[in-house]
Symmetry: C2
Subunit: 417 residues, 2 copies
């Protein structure tokens, strides 16, 4: 076998350790490559040089007197660092599943670790050759929805679960009559016996197709096809057959193989829901930053990715939301940007439009509101109009109050948002 | 649509909240079923009765003055509770992926939550009808490996990554000559360019088949087939064609759809690696207990499930390891036990045999040691023999030191274990 110049995979972490940080870093690198806790005869220097993970960077941030997580080795002090490791691509090849086991495998459990969070990934171009990325992304989503500029003004079918197919279609009719661009199923509504997927799609697509004829553009509905693979394929095919333009899946529920296979099969944009993101991220000393997680999902083929929203009803702070959205928009590879469309939701109204636009400098996004639309005293159409007016103001740099002077729906909305 | 008596899905949680616990419980139940933050006209009492999640149990454990996780609502005190919720099966049907989005979806991010961990699942029999569970489990694994009683004495190819196919086969030959029952690839070794899967399997299976002829039983090798779905299917087929008896996958890397599809395709036991378990579990106030996680993996079809090991080199305490192993062995449904085989590994030697057997009362398990076998001064065969002698002693209730009097390999081993 001929040695070749190695492309390398880089992953960065926030590390906290009760050990000497340099030693802890070496243990992590060893655990995730060629190291064992007992020195073996065949663990040669050549093998380690070729296959070992490397500590590329280790910068101390600060120290703490108590460990963030239990179970690690005790220290007199716990050092927090930025750690960057690299692996030769030869260890695993450009495989997303094996990337997961390598950069986010057994290392979080090590005794040397009292806190570990993956914060960044840099992948060699071989990954861009091996995986397709989003098939539609921003451009394809704008084309299919007929929204050439500004955000897609969106909403979520509510109540999350409990409506019949016909009741769902009625709600969709109200929204389409009101001028909505984008509607999604709730992640709790897939194919429950009370609201079977096929019946729901048939009922909803009758309304969507009627609406499209009247409007000259087709509002995009993301049908939640989350399920086993054959179910997802069947549901995708039905949506496509009936003229639908988007399918949605809960990415942490189906897993990477589910998304990769869905991308292979799909002729429609894939709306990636991040339900469960809390258990990947809510402890600051453990788990995943959104940056590396969304890179993997984009490579695998997600066209839209949820990023929560400013002033959301959840526990995520605004700077984290904006960092997530920027990550989703950031090009991944030279010549293969694979940008996806960030989806803002959770307690959103037009009031979040100025801050969202100011932070991103683009309206290449989906902004979904529920109560922010349905709660408008003038009804759903007024709610959608007000939300769009808020975005017009945001993009023009006009304060909402000023814009509201000549826009009645926005004026009314500002009283309840 | 006719209302039918509802089968319900139950999930239990450890909850910490700065809110009134009863209110927090209702918010979680609402978020994960029919609730919205704005009351909608179509959110009728009938709908809530039919589709709402129910708080079945809420028991205060204790209180804390500080929140475990940041971002939640502030309280003067933080109450920790056991919370049990239930959902009507009609909301989602017996779908594992949608179960994930329901019991482990957006709830962890709620502001009402300063800690949330899923601790138990009780699923209605419809899930046992919808999913097959392990195809081989304990009985099938014993049959294929020719190990009628006692644990499968196992080991892991080390170094984790870096050996060529021929070097891997050499190590396998040494182990089989030494009398090993079970060998697994490391989770870092799948199909890297330096050690391509097909070449490795061909080289290793030549050795395994030769060994089987000599032994009259075939040692089981779990080849790591983790990859995209078509790759996993191809690799499975090659292992099967060459007479192999087990395939391994990193479950958190492939995800649920990957495992479900692999189970559908596979004619071999599926060795379920839990790499990444740390980021699901290491923060006590967040994420997953092993109990509910392994239930989902067993339903989807895992035959073997990693549970770490007593006195392991990681950060998990012994009681957690034993609880995990007991969970894997516990029958899931009346008439459909779906028991899988627990796999003990990480810094293991024969010294952990007595404690492991005493805690479980069974040797229906795989016990894998690396250094504990390779480090034996008498060589690999002596290492395997000593490990087996330790288990013989454990199962007979004889202290290792006593058993060592008449067993030289164990006697030597006790000096370095």
């Amino acid at each position: 076998m001929v040695a070749v110049a190695s492309e390398r995979i880089h992953a960065s972490y926030w590390l906290e350790t009760g050990d000497d940080p340099a030693h802890a870093a070496e243990v992590i690198a060893g655990e995730q490559s060629s190291g064992t806790f007992l020195k073996l005869a065949n663990e040669t220097p050549e093998l380690k040089e070729r296959s070992g993970a490397r500590v590329e960077r280790l910068e101390v941030i600060d120290t703490s007197t108590a460990p963030s997580l239990p179970g690690g080795m005790a220290g007199s002090t716990y050092t927090r660092c930025q750690l960057e490791l690299s692996w030769p691509l030869e260890n695993l090849g450009p495989s997303l599943t094996n990337l997961m086991a390598t950069v986010a495998g057994n290392l979080f459990e090590l005794r040397q670790v009292s806190g570990l969070r993956i914060t960044d990934l840099k992948l060699p171009p071989a990954f861009a050759a091996a995986y397709p990325g989003p098939a539609f992304g921003i451009t394809g989503t704008r084309r299919l929805s007929g929204v050439a500029q500004g955000p897609l003004i969106g909403t979520i079918i509510k109540p999350s679960v409990g409506l019949s197919p016909e009741q769902t279609a009625e709600q969709v009719r109200l929204l389409i009559d009101g001028g909505i661009d984008f509607i999604k199923d709730d992640e709790l509504q897939a194919d429950g016996p009370h609201c079977p997927f096929d019946e729901r799609v048939r009922a909803v697509m009758r309304v969507v197709n009627d609406g499209a004829e009247a409007l000259g553009r087709k509002p995009m509905v993301a049908f939640n096809i989350t399920g086993d693979l054959d179910q997802m394929r069947h549901r995708h095919d039905l949506v496509l057959e009936l003229g639908g333009t988007c399918v949605m899946a809960s990415l942490n529920a189906i897993g990477l193989v589910g998304l990769i296979e869905l991308r292979r099969h799909s002729s429609l944009p894939i709306h990636g829901h991040r339900a469960g993101w809390g258990w990947l991220s809510r402890c600051p000393a453990l788990g995943w930053d959104y940056g590396p997680w969304q890179q993997i999902q984009r490579l695998a083929g997600a066209d839209h990715l949820h990023v929560n929203g400013l002033a959301n009803k959840f526990s995520e702070p605004d700077d984290s939301v904006i960092a997530a959205a920027r990550a989703v928009l950031k090009p991944m590879f030279d010549g293969a940007p694979m940008a996806a469309m960030p989806v803002f939701s959770s307690g959103q109204t037009g009031k979040q439009a100025p801050g969202t636009f100011a932070a991103l400098g683009t309206a290449d996004l989906i902004h979904a509101a529920g109560g922010g639309i349905f709660g408008h005293p003038g009804g759903v159409a007024a709610g959608v109009t007000a939300f769009r007016q808020a975005w017009d103001a945001a993009m023009a740099g006009t304060p909402l109050q000023d814009h509201a002077v000549k826009h009645a729906e926005l004026r009314q909305a500002l009283e309840f948002w």
